[in-house]
Amino acid sequence: MKFAVGLMAVCVGAAPAVYPPSVTLFGVGAGQTVVVDGVGCAVTVADGGIAEWIGGRVVAKAKGSTWLTAKCGAGLTTVPVTVRASGAVLKKSFVNDVAPIFTMGGCSGANCHGSIRGQRGFKLSLFGYEPALDFEAISKRIDKGAAEKSLVLLKATAAVGHGGGFRFAADSLEYRTIAEWIREGAPYDAGGAPRMTELRVYPQEQILVGKDATQQLVAVGYYSDGSVRDVTQLVQYSSNNPDVVQVGKNGQARALQTGETAVMVRTMGKAVAARILVAGSRADSAYVRVPRNNFIDEHVFAKLQKLNIRPSAVSGDSEFLRRVYLDVVGKLPTEEEARAFLASKEANKRTAVVDRLLAQPEFAEVWALKMAELTRAGTREAGPKGGRIVYEWLRKAFAENTPYDKLVTGLVLSQGTHLFGKGPSSFYNISFDSNAADHATNISQIFLGVRIECAKCHNHPWEKWTQDDFYGFAAFFARVGVKEVYENDENATVYNEEGVVTHPKTKKAVTPKYLDGGLEPDEQDKDIREALARWMTRADNPFFARAFVNRVWKQYLGRGLVEEVDDFRVTNPPTNPALLDALAADFIRNKFDIRRLVRTILLSRTYQLSAEPNETNRGDVLNYSRFGMRRLGAETLTDAIAQVTGVPDKFAGYPPGTRAMQVYAGANYMLSTFGRLNRDIICERDAQPDIAQTMHLISGETIQKKLAFDGNVISQWMTGDVVDSVFLRTLTRFPTAAERAALEGALAGGERRAVLQDALWAILNSKEFLYNH
């Protein structure tokens, strides 16, 4: 018997966790793997006539009900066990027994026979989503007269040459299953054969303590006829982060280093995940409770305590002020603002500055630009004017704190001439041939955080989305079209009077269908997008609020609770589900008030933690135990350099005085180099520094020209003691004694302008300036 070494059961007297929480067996001989989370446990079945405990499994002996008891020290847990009749002796099912072997063995993976062309003429559907097609392909490679001579078995056992190498042995369960199926005539399942409707994995979340701690996962399949099967040995396991947790083909997970990851479990078109956290040590009684500012801190610090990680101290005033300015308005505080804030003794001065910044127009500009980028406003098709019409609408919406549900509704329902009008009419105008499928892909990804694009061509490999789901959702946009209006090549997005989406397989018109929801018939004289917008923005929509609060969280904390932020799926669970739920619930409760959501985040202790690590959180990058340093974004950095030097940029096509944050479309070299997207596709910016950025800052014209410009800030510093000013203007702090001495010394001995140029150059190239921390 093998037990997981888990954190939860080590408490003396605690009841052990047992997975699955109940056992249902169909037919005598049926078995279910059961995992008891504890040490030195004794497991018994109350009525040995009904079921018995053999090698970590409960095996059915007769119809009836009993229970399994796991006793670990003083802790005791019981689990009900039910044995039901199985009916006739079942033959091997291709769909339920044979096809999953090809998924589990990796044969139907994207880089093997599941690839678009297959391998060596043997083509399987990706991850076994199309068993009927797989049956056809496999049937050509079997020998009904002599199962052991079947090519599928010879290849899999490497008895003959196989590009994929050895997959399983001749005495393995997989081999026996396939061979038995062939001997039974290799039939395809009759029409009424049960199909898996749900896959569950246990435990869904587990904390492992220390390297090499293990956890056996249990997979249970639920079928259309109501039966339940242990599929622990029939599923494919893969760790999202194999550096943290490795998982074997039998479902045993092993901790390699502290961190956390999801283990993806899939078979027969179903995919689920178990979240495995690896802690370095157990939480101890000396763990000091950290003060909380609001509910965010409750959830963040609760998880940190579970992992025995102490959060960093709260940031200093300089650190906080610079951080919150850069994050909220994309600017540095002025020297005067910095001096006033640092000198202030007001207890609530942080709250006051947050409130003041949130009311500034620059807050709206930051978010308008972000959303314009997400929605790909101003693509080559739309041009700068099309970009502007969306950007300006967004900017106004954020400035007026339009509730997020209203904002998204406005975008989803948008239409009209692309170059003028009151609405974001160019929203759908992203390419000359964009169609319903594109709109479905974009809208689900941007506003629901769900990437369904894979399901356009095949059922989604890591999620539940099928082609029916994809085209059902696309059908909401079937009547969104473009027509030419007026004489100057102006186009308009229109909601056509007619239009359908055709399913590529059935060739039939598809009825609009909500993701994970019901059908919504399209009706004449109605814009079905109105119904879609209502569904999206409903309080109980499982995607909408979560997707946005996750984006906002990432904007200010540097990493989404779900990462990537637009890739919500069961196989990519949030790092702190409770926090995500709480943020979403708070957002919904407050009527999708964006500014309030941002304020809540900014006022949390979590946001205000120092970036300085302590010994417990140095390796933590997932749990917000310290502020995550990050390079300034392209626009923020460009504007900060202009602000520090007092030399504004001039962007081609934009009037004088335009800041980088206001450049709604297009980019210069500086902006492109530092990550501004060209908006050809929806994607997040790459925040990683690279050599081109470094070289540009060291010797490129962005800094050099500004430092050399006669009328720059240095001209105001030609007399007097300016050392404090230099540091406050750039780093929002006073210089250290060493810094002061160094700069004063240089000024005393050198040509003043040149010294100040050098000092500014050095600061502008420092990590302290280039990063928000």
Binding site: T417, L419, Y486, E487, D527
Partner: protein, 665 residues
């Protein structure tokens, strides 16, 4: 236009002759673009082939023009507008031996001024003495700053007339406060890219207006006329028309209408009586004489920025206030033979009307909105008594950009049985705005057709065949052939009678898709005798058709389409101006300016093509070009204005426009 070029190309190639490059005058810029009535101004005209201009005319009454001087790329015209001239846009034509062309000129009723450079930043801003009409030009990267004062609570209007007058400027306006913060922005307000701002100032103070080209575009011919001030600005009149022979009451809607005192239709067709005024609305009563011509005219409001359209009809008129016809279940009952005036003022709104017929009936639902200058994109639909939609139309045909767009539906249909039908009208893009006025005509169908000449002018070359396209647009269910013929042809020019079959002309799009024109295109072939008289003639096209025993005869109107800025309209002069000219033996395509040294010249031989062509000129090394060669490299050896001569033997076939050669060797 591209379609026309294709048709032209096909026809010329069929006749085996080289297609001559454009030799008629072309205008790319006019500055100033207009003048105050009761004044005179000297217009600077820029373009090509302007040498030898022999006349200029301005459409309508009270404005005369004369050519002061002309060279290949520039001309100077003197224009004088009488005090009684009707304000608004006019057609300005210039005529030369090789043809004529048309552009626009704006007659104003206020004093005009001119932008003065340098005015490219806040410090150099020009003070606006409002109300103002400033003529300016925006070159690439150019910013024009204007400074003005505004009182607290004052509403000012800023309107930039550019593309609406034929300018190439895609203008932008911004209002900035004294600290340079942007208060308002406008890029494309009108369909044709011009900006417009109405702004209410909450605080008294100094402000700036910044004018520039979208994306910092501009050129020397990107002119504008800036209207600015607290003057009345009228968005529309509701109803947007009235039945002649009756007195109509209408509301002017806009801003600063408190002081409206004078309202005139057209050039004195009718005068309004002001019943009441307010800031945003003025109530007017106007008796429309029974002999007033049918169709759209301009309604001039004294002191207002711009006139608004007003249609004189011969039918009963009904006005529905915005929001009063919005219930599909309770539509407003309308008798056939009515023009309904309404406004789709809110997003996703539709107006509903019911009509009743006693038996099967052919009816027509025709909307005027976009063609009156409003931004509504109307869509009409008809529902039977059971609520089933039986017909709808967005546009008469798909707009593709190859043709002037028409967004106004013209839906002719048969109502299948006696009963009540519901008609809906809405914006096809589901938009709404207080300025989205429509005039929906519901009437029994009286099949008819309209005829347009595609182009307002043509040059007919002696000894050749020339094509003029005429478009027949069938209306209200017309479905029989229409005969077309030309009258007023110059001596020595003949053109056959043609038949327009009742089938819309089709063409293939770039992706192989089939599109249809809104009507039938008829290519009328003009045969010009070698000795035809070198005259300018006004050619009138007439058309006749018979349907159900009823004969209909119509005269064609010339319609132009400025392909460069893609704006279209009916020329005020309905006839086609046809110039009979001789083709030179060779045509050179040269730039206005060049540097010393080599220049590639494109040449088109229009003679028999025999013999080597010698290109020579003062300051040009002679070049011999073999027959059939269409490019030649010439070398300019000295600076100055140089003309290339092309000769075969001793015979001079043609001359180029002068090339200004600059620079040092």
């Amino acid at each position: 236009m591209r379609l026309l070029l294709i048709l032209f190309s096909a026809l010329f190639s069929a006749f085996g002759a080289s297609e001559p490059p454009p030799l008629e005058p072309q205008i790319t810029g006019v500055f100033p673009r207009g003048l105050q009535r009761g004044s005179a101004v000297e217009l600077q005209v820029r373009g090509r082939n302007l040498q030898g201009l022999r006349g200029a005319t301005v459409s309508g009454r009270g404005v005369v023009a004369e050519v002061v001087e002309a060279s290949a790329y520039r001309a100077k015209l003197r224009v004088r507008a009488e005090g009684g001239a009707e304000p608004g846009r006019r057609d300005l034509r210039v005529m030369a031996a090789q043809g004529s062309t048309l552009t626009w000129l704006d007659i104003s009723d206020r004093a005009e001024s001119f932008e003065k450079e340098p005015n490219g930043d806040f410090e150099k801003a020009t003070r606006l003495a409002m109300p103002a009409l400033v003529n300016g030009v925006v070159t690439a990267g150019d910013y024009d700053y204007y400074r003005f004062s505004a009182a607290a609570g004052q509403t000012l209007t800023f309107d930039l007339l550019a593309t609406r007058n034929g300018s190439s400027l895609d203008g932008v306006m911004e209002i900035l406060d004294a600290e340079g913060r942007r208060l308002e922005y406008s890029d494309d307000y009108y369909a044709f890219k011009d900006p417009h701002i109405v702004y209410k100032f909450s605080e008294a103070g100094e402000y700036f207006l910044r004018v520039y080209g979208s994306g910092e575009t501009g050129s020397e011919t990107a002119d504008y006329r800036l209207l600015a001030g607290a003057m009345p600005h009228v968005d529309l009149a509701l109803p947007g028309g009235g039945e002649r022979g009756r007195t109509v009451e209408f509301d002017l809607q806009g801003v600063n209408l408190d002081g409206v005192a004078e309202v005139t239709l057209g050039a004195g067709l009718a005068r309004g009586k002001v019943l009441s005024t307010g800031f945003g609305r003025a109530r007017i009563s106007m008796a429309i004489p029974g002999d007033t011509p049918l169709g759209a005219s301009l309604l001039h409001v004294g002191g207002a920025t711009l006139p608004v359209p007003f249609v004189v009809s011969g039918m009963r008129e009904l006005t529905v206030a915005p929001g009063t016809a919005r219930k599909r279940a309770d539509p407003v009952a309308v008798e056939l033979g009515t023009v309904v005036n309404g406004v789709i003022d809110t997003d996703r709104a539709a107006d509903y009307f019911s009509i009743r017929v006693d038996g099967p009936e052919d009816v027509v639902l025709a909307v005027e909105s976009m063609n009156l200058g409003f931004l509504l994109d109307p869509l009409v639909a008809v529902y039977d008594d059971a609520g089933k939609r039986i017909a709808w139309q967005d546009e008469p045909t798909t707009n593709t950009g190859k043709e002037p767009a028409n967004l106004d539906p013209h839906l002719a249909l048969r109502l299948p049985r006696a009963g009540r039908y519901t008609v809906a009208i809405r914006d096809s893009q589901f938009r709404g705005d207080a300025t989205f006025l429509y005039r929906l005509t519901l009437k029994k169908a009286e099949p008819d057709f309209a005829v347009r000449i595609v182009g307002a002018h043509t040059t007919l070359y002696r000894g050749r065949e020339n094509v003029v396209n005429v478009r027949v647009r069938r209306l209200e269910g017309w479905n029989t052939p229409v005969e077309i013929w030309a009258e007023g042809l110059p001596a020595g020019v003949t053109a056959p009678r043609m038949i327009a079959e009742p089938k819309n002309t089709s063409y293939t799009g770039t992706c192989g898709e089939i599109h249809y024109l809104d009507g039938t295109n008829v290519a009328v072939l003009f045969t010009v005798a070698g000795d035809a008289s070198l005259d300018l003639s006004r050619v009138v096209f007439r058309a006749r058709g018979v349907m159900a025993g009823r004969t209909v005869e119509r005269e064609a109107r010339a319609r132009y389409w400025k392909s460069r800025i893609r704006v279209a309209g009916d020329a005020e002069e309905p006839a086609l101006l046809a110039t009979v000219a001789d083709l030179p033996g060779v045509v050179f395509q040269t730039p206005e300016r060049a540097g010393l040294g080599k220049l590639t010249v494109i040449l088109t031989r229009l003679d028999d093509g025999g013999g080597d062509l010698v290109i020579e000129g003062d300051g040009v090394a002679p070049v011999v070009v073999a027959a059939g060669v269409t490019r030649a490299e010439v070398v300019f050896t000295k600076a100055g204005e140089i003309v290339l001569n092309g000769r075969v033997g001793d015979r001079v076939l043609g001359r180029s426009a002068p090339v200004r050669v600059e620079g040092k060797r």
